[in-house]
Subunit: 192 residues, 2 copies
Amino acid sequence: MPPMNFCSDCGASLVLQVPEGDNRLRHVCVSCGGIHYQNPKIVVGCIPEWEDQILLCRRAIEPRRGFWTLPAGFMETGETAQAGAARETLEEAEARVEVGGLYACFSLSHVDQVYLLFRSRLLDLDFGPGSESLEVRLFKPGEIPWNEMAFFVIQETLEGYFKDRAKGQYPLRSGEIRRVSEKPGDYRITYL
Amino acid sequence: MPPMNFCSDCGASLVLQVPEGDNRLRHVCVSCGGIHYQNPKIVVGCIPEWEDQILLCRRAIEPRRGFWTLPAGFMETGETAQAGAARETLEEAEARVEVGGLYACFSLSHVDQVYLLFRSRLLDLDFGPGSESLEVRLFKPGEIPWNEMAFFVIQETLEGYFKDRAKGQYPLRSGEIRRVSEKPGDYRITYL
């Protein structure tokens, strides 16, 4: 979350107080009285499928440069979650997809994010690394670079996905991912 | 979205420009260079069930004061979507629920919101109007005040819900609600 010192509307100072009718501390402007809420953000992404393969991107940017992930990023204003997932896939993997059903919905309260990941059908093989990717390629189930995954939420989603694919059923995976300690990779997933 | 004139970090002026490596206009600080993103917000809520009835709240606040809705509101930082849905139900209906599976995920891009609505089990009948509700009560399927619903997204969700309940199956309802015109109530739903 960005630092909240000044009112984005009038430029005066912000103070932390509980507005009338509210029950939590908010950043309130001492001059115009504007209340500046902070809320979780939505990360939208795709699991792009091609026959028995899925498409992954190797990250060209921090955090986790050089590690593999699904195409995903912050949902933008003015778009649907599905459109955002398709846009991220185009930007990061230069790939066109038909976005399908919601497959994963995970809250990551330690970073104030909610992930919405959609199954999707890759429309052609004309893909390549966008500016945020070093490399983009298709992986068969046995080829997934499990030890080089960028993010726990993506690794967990893909582990569930391949189990579901073996059964031919894809129930929504919904829950919470918590950071257990500051130790890298120390997370716990709970299905809710 | 709040007006974006001044940097919340250093208080200097913001200008609209496309930052390096980005592809859309952002509010960028002329002094510290901070980028102030604007993103959609998440509305979390419950469909609280008690035997064959569901719980609705009559709104005490604008917009749509006096009309009926499900307990729902903006997800807060530091919580999961499910915890937020339970919190809103406690605040608006003074009701305790066990939150179940995600039932509806709708993007409302005209207001930059994503709704996440969960089926949930009312734990007892000790409920009542919170400060944002005029009245809270249980409704049998035939009693739902369809002509007094506050929001199209809630009305559509409940119409789907009662159809699903008749079949005993509750697949995720996911899609988009678009405002067709400025005429009140002129929305269109698309299942994606």
